[in-house]
């Protein structure tokens, strides 16, 4: 027996490495998984690396721009052209700063509009929108800044998602477009109730549980209803589209175009007040297939 084990030890080891994780997956696939210390450690290690790589990319781009500008300085005959180009660059930078200021002002006005809530502003430092996993973005604020699991994350345009995992100085945000995200909404025009569930794609969500008798039309704005114990009421989530009432069933089908484009996120606000203990959240808002 021992000789047999010794003879096939490589095969056995590989089979164990293949089948044991599969068994772990099948065992935990239906229950919402808890975050382990290893998860938090990996987030704590990767977030600074992401920040570092981001700084390196920005630095390289800045250095490249500087190089081009210096080369131009040696060409006296092109002085006017260079000056014009520099001014254009400067204008471009100012425009970018103005755009950023506008974004931040709108975020600020969102925060000032509801003074009872407290917010923490954060920058997006990494995105993980792969088709195989959860739709996550990493932000540069974490548990030390008062963030905890299930806190809502918003921008001026509407709902971004909720905090999924935190380390000391970073957090993963589960986006509203993730399959495991289901947000209770109301149609702003008629107050009809429904849910918006992600499809794992950045461009579209699904309209769930909208009664076929309810008055919903293409283009209707869907806002959070506040009944899911995660998001405060009144935040835009998306616009209803591709509505269909099939011949049978209680509900109508439809798609939702999210008001927030997750591929263009730069700064976000985390609503830190009024967040509930994740253990007390209803099962519907916990990931069905999650960590």
């Amino acid at each position: 027996m021992l000789a047999l084990l010794k003879r096939y030890r490589e095969l056995i080891l590989v089979a164990v490495l293949l089948l044991f994780p599969l068994a772990v997956f099948f065992a935990h696939a239906k229950g919402p998984g808890e975050l382990t210390r290893v998860d938090r450690a990996v987030l704590a290690v990767t977030a600074p690396l992401e920040r570092l790589v981001g700084a390196a990319v920005t630095g390289t781009l800045d250095a490249w721009r500087g190089y081009v500008a210096l080369r131009g300085a040696h060409e006296r005959a092109l002085e006017l052209w260079r000056e014009n180009r520099d001014l254009k660059l400067e204008r471009q930078e100012l425009l970018q700063e103005r755009t950023e200021n506008d974004r931040l002002r709108r975020l600020l006005s969102l925060g000032e509009g509801e003074p009872r809530r407290s917010y923490v502003g954060a920058r997006v430092v990494g995105v993980r929108l792969g088709p195989a996993g959860l739709q996550l973005v990493t932000i540069d604020k974490g548990a030390d800044d008062g963030l905890s699991r299930a806190m809502p994350v918003v921008v001026a345009e509407g709902v971004v998602g909720r905090v999924h995992a935190t380390s000391a100085h970073a957090a993963d945000v589960l986006l509203a477009i993730d399959r495991n995200s289901s947000i209770a909404v109301r149609v702003e025009r008629t107050r009809a109730r429904a849910n918006v569930r992600g499809l794992g794609r950045p461009d579209q969500c699904r309209l769930d549980y909208a009664l076929r008798s309810e008055d919903v039309i293409e283009g209707d704005l869907l806002v959070t209803s506040g009944t899911d114990a995660v998001f405060p009421a009144g935040l835009p989530v998306g616009r209803a589209t591709r509505l269909q009432r099939v011949g049978h069933g209680l509900f109508q089908d439809g798609a939702v175009l999210p008001t927030v484009d997750p591929t263009r996120l730069e700064e976000v606000l985390v609503i830190t007040s009024g967040a509930r203990d994740p253990e007390q959240l209803p099962a519907a808002v916990g990931p069905g297939v999650g960590r």
Binding site: E10, V45, P131, G200, T263, G288
Partner: protein, 169 residues
Amino acid sequence: MKPLALALAALLLAALQAALLRHVGGGAFSLCLLAPLVVHLALGAGNVDGAVGAAAVGFVLDVTSGTVKGLLTSLAVALFLAARLLGAAVDVRGRVGFAVLSGAGALGLSAGAVALQRAVALPEVQPGWALLPRMIVEALLTGLAAPLVQLGLRRLDALFGAEEPDLIR
């Protein structure tokens, strides 16, 4: 020392990928830079070292992509075995072969993950095959980036005195 370096390389690649996608495209498309790492192990490492390394890389994938533990770990080991079998039958040591294998590996990881999650997840959270175009784009981009990853991994191998598979095998 080498397993530690491999784990660090996997974490670094995962962080690099997340930061790059933040600046380029903002997540409109995705990459799987860890697939070339598994393929590199399949083509260069021993059976035991490679399988353990692939499982470690898969675990990092599991943690960083937020899937249920075990899903991508198992799929990474399966990718290791498939790439190893293919590597024994066909010459994939060149850049193009490596890129094609890495792209196919990324597609296999995504498609396998979707298929397994469809098998066990609740109906309302099951991923749909509508994600296939995203998977194909991910595979193509991973294939394009794979030679760069291979270059870095060969440097890492050289650092630890590994034999060049191109010369010895």
